[in-house]
């Protein structure tokens, strides 16, 4: 039991170090919201590079579309200004609409691609649009499983 406990501790410790990977913002195009497409080494064995890059590039496209300064944003801005921005109390802005699309896309990606590989992609809006994080879900199950196992051994169930 002491050996198993020690091994479990080690396993949990090494698993916990790899719990989350953070993809930082790419500021090369000024302050628009864009994430780095560089493939992190920690995900090397977990997911194919092409899938990861496609996810991040699609996210970048969505954000680029949301922040585009063009005809629609002028129209929205002028209309809102003319109504002293009171219209924003009842209307959803274009950015908010695209954010909803993004969270649906992330959910879809998680279900189709990342959950089967034991990863969980978090929506950047939850981190202040600073990072896209990949969480190791197997670590969660492992922690829970090993905790229960230890409790069983302690109480001799």
């Amino acid at each position: 039991p002491a050996d198993t406990f020690h091994n479990l501790q080690e396993l949990r410790h090494s698993a916990s170090l790899a719990t989350k990977v953070f993809i930082q913002r790419d500021y090369s195009d000024s302050t628009i919201c864009k994430f780095q497409t560089k493939f992190p080494a920690e995900l090397d064995s977990r997911i194919e590079r092409s899938l990861f890059e496609e996810t991040v590039k699609t996210l970048n496209c969505y954000y680029g579309e949301a922040e585009k300064i063009g005809g629609q944003s002028y129209l929205e801005g002028c209309l809102a200004c003319a109504t002293a921005y009171i219209i924003f109390l009842c209307m959803e802005t274009r950015y908010e609409k695209i954010l909803k699309k993004i969270s649906m896309y992330i959910q879809e990606q998680n279900e189709k691609i990342y959950a089967p590989r034991g990863l969980l992609l978090t929506d950047p809006i939850e981190r202040g649009m600073r990072v896209v994080s990949f969480a190791n879900t197997w670590d969660v199950f492992l922690s829970v499983g090993t905790t229960l196992k230890e409790l069983c051994t302690i109480y001799k169930l």
Partner: protein, 385 residues
């Protein structure tokens, strides 16, 4: 269990937000800490306009045109709307890093700095990024534990990092940042117009009335005029000046903070990488760009722990799932799992840690398919009660 849920008060995220902001209306309104000067601003605007509507407008509507008070009302409503929008909205506060993100950044910094000799000061935490072919330095914020994005700055009054930080304005009682800069600018612009308007029509009114009844009688009949002229006279210089200054900043796509620090001035310094080199493009970007949403989620419901789900669990589950499971397991099983957040423990393994992380998932793979299927459903079922 259901009886407990009914009596339990729902905790919203704004109640637990760090920083020195004041919140009202259950998180819908967000302001800075000191509100005294904001009340003064409100009092001055509402007071002066009330005097104008009471004393000048009846006379001017009859003798000149009813459009004059109508336009004054519209302008007043616009000014108030802009002021309240500036004061009550989130200026673009950047949320602080959660422990995992903070530790990830710490590990990155330590890996970049290498070993520091005992007694020596560690090098300043700065990241260099290239924006539009210029090198911009990103500073590390020790309070928020993040590298501040370009143009963000930490406001000491509100104790928050604010994106595209302009300045903290005591007159509106809030920081002016990315999200509310255009409202602030429109407020100063419309207030300038309102002040000029009231000032001008006060003069017109006094002149017209003096022609009929004489100057002294006019002042006796409408004593409010004197007060209004005084307030408008002093307000004019400051507000019009401020509007002019911000118009200049907008045309160059600069913030007050950058202007004060002299970030882009001087020959040896970097030129402003955010400017589009065209006044019209700069104005369009600052005033007509899409309105950014708040990343704070003030009214989101705080999920206390797995054993006591709130009614909004189902709807919030998709957004909170990611942050919940990992933090909850570490909280509930704290005595058993060694402290995984100490950088000292992680230090020797930074080189080996990345190796371990690549090897351990392979080790994990064989046991996990069997255990989570057995364990996870049991855990999830319990929490749904």
């Amino acid at each position: 269990m259901s009886a407990v849920m009914i009596t339990r008060k729902v905790t919203r995220k704004w109640e637990k937000l760090p920083g020195k902001n004041t919140f009202c209306c259950d998180g819908r309104v967000m302001m800075g800490r000191q509100k005294g000067v904001f009340y003064l601003t409100l009092f001055l605007i509402v007071g002066t306009c009330s005097l104008f509507f009471a004393f000048e407008c009846p006379y001017l509507a009859v003798h000149l045109s009813p459009a004059i008070p109508v336009f004054a009302v519209l302008l007043f409503v616009f000014v108030m709307a802009m002021l309240l929008r500036t004061s009550f909205s989130d200026p673009g506060v950047l949320p602080r890093a959660l422990p995992e993100e903070a530790n990830f950044i710490e590990m990155e910094i330590e890996a970049a700095n290498g070993n520091v000799m005992a007694g020596q000061r560690p090098p300043p935490r700065i990241k260099n990024v290239q924006i539009n072919n210029q090198i911009v330095k990103l500073k590390y914020c020790y309070t928020c534990k993040i590298f501040r994005p370009p143009r963000a700055s930490h406001c000491s009054i509100c104790d928050n990092c604010v994106d595209r930080f302009d300045h903290h304005c005591p007159w509106v009682g809030n920081c002016v940042g990315k999200r509310n800069y255009r409202y602030f600018y429109l407020f100063t612009l419309s207030l300038s117009l309102l002040t000029i308007y009231i000032f001008a029509f006060n003069i017109v009114h006094v002149v017209l009335r003096s022609v009929d009844s004489g100057f002294v009688n006019t002042i006796k009949e409408t004593p409010g005029t004197v007060l209004e002229v005084l307030v408008c006279f002093f307000t004019l210089w400051s507000v019009v000046g401020l509007t002019g200054f911000h118009t200049y900043l907008i045309s160059l796509n600069q913030t007050t903070n950058e202007d004060i620090k002299g970030s882009w001035s001087g020959k040896n310094r970097v030129q402003n990488p955010y400017s589009h080199k065209s006044i019209i493009k700069n104005c369009c970007e600052v005033l007509c760009s899409p309105t950014y949403p708040s990343v704070l989620d003030r009214r989101g419901v705080m999920l206390e722990d797995l054993s006591s789900p709130t009614p909004s669990d189902a709807s919030a589950a998709s957004t909170h799932q990611s942050s919940n499971p990992v933090s909850q397991t570490t909280k509930s099983s704290a005595p058993l799992i060694p402290n995984e957040h100490t950088p000292d423990e992680a230090k020797p393994g930074i080189g080996s840690g990345t190796q371990k992380s690549t090897s351990s998932p392979k080790e994990e793979k064989p046991p996990s398919p069997t255990s989570p299927n057995a364990v996870a459903p049991a855990v999830i079922k319990e929490s749904s009660h």
